[in-house]
Symmetry: C2
Subunit: 452 residues, 2 copies
Amino acid sequence: MAPGGRVVVVGGGFGGLEAAKALGRAGADVTLVDRHNYHLFQPLTYQVATGGLAPGDIAVPLRHILRSYPTVDVLLGEMTGLDVAGREVTIIAPADRAKGSGVGRRIPYDALIVAGGSDYSYFGHEEWRSQALEVKSLDSALEVRGRILTAFESAEERPEDQEGWLTFVVVGAGPTGVEMAGQIAELARQTLPPEFRHIDPSSARVLLVETGDRVLAGFPGPLPERAARALERLGVTLVLKHTVVDVQAGSVELSQPGGGRQTVPTRTVVWAAGVAASPLAALLATRCGAETDRAGRVTVNPDLSLPGHPDILALGDMVRVRDPETGEARALPGLAPVAMQQGRYAGRVVAARLGGGSIPGPFHYRDKGTLATIGRASAVADVQGLRFSGFPAWLAWLTIHIFYLIGFENRAVVLLRWAYSYITRGRGNRLITHAASAPPRARVAQRSDPRT
Amino acid sequence: MAPGGRVVVVGGGFGGLEAAKALGRAGADVTLVDRHNYHLFQPLTYQVATGGLAPGDIAVPLRHILRSYPTVDVLLGEMTGLDVAGREVTIIAPADRAKGSGVGRRIPYDALIVAGGSDYSYFGHEEWRSQALEVKSLDSALEVRGRILTAFESAEERPEDQEGWLTFVVVGAGPTGVEMAGQIAELARQTLPPEFRHIDPSSARVLLVETGDRVLAGFPGPLPERAARALERLGVTLVLKHTVVDVQAGSVELSQPGGGRQTVPTRTVVWAAGVAASPLAALLATRCGAETDRAGRVTVNPDLSLPGHPDILALGDMVRVRDPETGEARALPGLAPVAMQQGRYAGRVVAARLGGGSIPGPFHYRDKGTLATIGRASAVADVQGLRFSGFPAWLAWLTIHIFYLIGFENRAVVLLRWAYSYITRGRGNRLITHAASAPPRARVAQRSDPRT
């Protein structure tokens, strides 16, 4: 029997989307709320930042994905409030938010699933954010693309002021940082050289700054070392055991292992370090009386519900899940498969609860492996304990990413772009558009900061 | 012998690009200046505005196109000044312009080719511009895309306030207006209906407003009538013999043929009427003592040079060319083939002048025909006097556009998208990104208006 009552799912990322689909399959009435009108394939967003892929290749309208789920409704908006007793969430439309009119709509729910994801943390320095952009959201990735391309243009125009324009600093050597540094190095060494007359783009320095002592610290065995060697072959300079202590308009300052400090002149900084849970985690914790950790993640029960609130579930990067046996709260890796499995699970839990079916047992993550690509035909993989690197890992990476990409047209276009780029080393989407050329003041004004 | 001296080409559109290539082939030193880092295939820009194509499909970095011309240099910037006696142009980089620092670089030339193109004229009402966007530039087309998609989202969210959100007004029934109206109608009637729950997108009204008594007035014989019938079949309402007399935030006002006025509630207006030559035409006219017409076009000699200034040439939408026999100044149609032929011609004239070769005779436009598409598998064509419409015209349209598109990757991707969309009626690039969701104030601040 179809579940009775209305479910509100907040967040159209991997977790929220899977939850909405699971509920839609069960025939439940669902309202899926997201700030954007599209689902973003976040593992490839960094490729937009260097022109390898176009925004539309990796982003699909949520309405389009859910068009064949007649009981699922999509609402463009941001969750800004929660009334636990009255079972209502407050949603503000992006246009109203931009206008500064903060009057949201109150939407009643019988069950609520919150999948707000996470952002990078700037080590408590929010003021670095406008200078050191991330490549997790599509808008920011497009702006990074504009900044990287503008840096080469500026160096070409003023060959006397090259050092800052031709130094690129990537902060954080997790998968995104490693992939981003590799992409910038490829762009500089392989794509751009025939196109410039006054500078040599291949002389650009790409620094990958990491507080820890190795890249891809989450990968097992020999993979971090292999990734490091692959990055160095591409021309990436690894700056390990260094921490960013300041970001200025023309430089970053690093603390050195011995205790000294080092200033690196650079005009382009990409941030891929730290984890800060969505501010919705704090909202849930306050309203439901739950714990949060230092990264702002809220602790949920083994069935992903908030303590004492079986009608409210949360999942993905913004939660730690309590172990049913030890009682210990544990953060799972911030990966798409974790969110997808939790989303499907949460959908089943809520469908069972509203429909009177049997509630599934506690959530268990089935780890199928991890992959990271480093550059053209190079990757590291850890799949079911099997560790490999180089071309076979890249093929595995490519196959899995094409397979999980949503939409036949996107799969075909992305495969075509990668094949083309593999052969020619070209990148077809190197445009400096609107946002990137806006004056800094306008850019800051139009950033929609979920924390404010 | 390679031409001696330096040629500055301003504008990387169809005309400027062909001029730079012709000069590059002759071995001349060329600096090509453009505000954007890409060449835009403008005849298809309107398809970006409805999600049919992605920006990168129709825009290619100028550096990439010119990478195999070693004597051609690309400079990102805007021409803001001209010293005719000293033979120098002033160029401001977009980043400096955005910062408000107006100190440009002075670049010397031995020959100057200006191909600044044109914009739409707002009948003297520049204040309508931010409300009634054009779809000629990529940035504006992306913003139109965001506005159209947001209109459907807003109607879905507030079903009680549908009329304005679901009324789309396109002003001007030339090729761009006709194509744009057809695209919006297809989006509303074919792509979106399965994706909305509270509204019926196919009930949207698409009005094509035209001062004249028919659409595609530049097309001969039965083609305007056939285009009109094809538009009506798609659900476009033709509002002929009406003129826009006011544009407000929630409505447009039209003057009726009888003399009355009519207010149409609408939240989305697309402007494709009138012609205003690039302000560079006025700059050239002032500095060289040449005439301009009401659309701001400067009159050039039969060899495209400015009167009394054989070292300065201008071409494309921003000029009228004096007939070598009658002496009459004539504006050629604002089409890519005109600009391309003039660009190649100007390149040859300058190469001959600087290299001491024989100067070619006066410019003659070879008219190969005109095409306009109206919707899925429908178009009108006038090719070498052969007039046809429907599917054969659409095939001709498709073939020619794919053929002239720059870059193998783009051709393959666009063909794939059109094939996919032909079969499924889908549109893969329906994203509401950054610019569109920015508050109006920030948007206005970051518009780079060539007139200021």
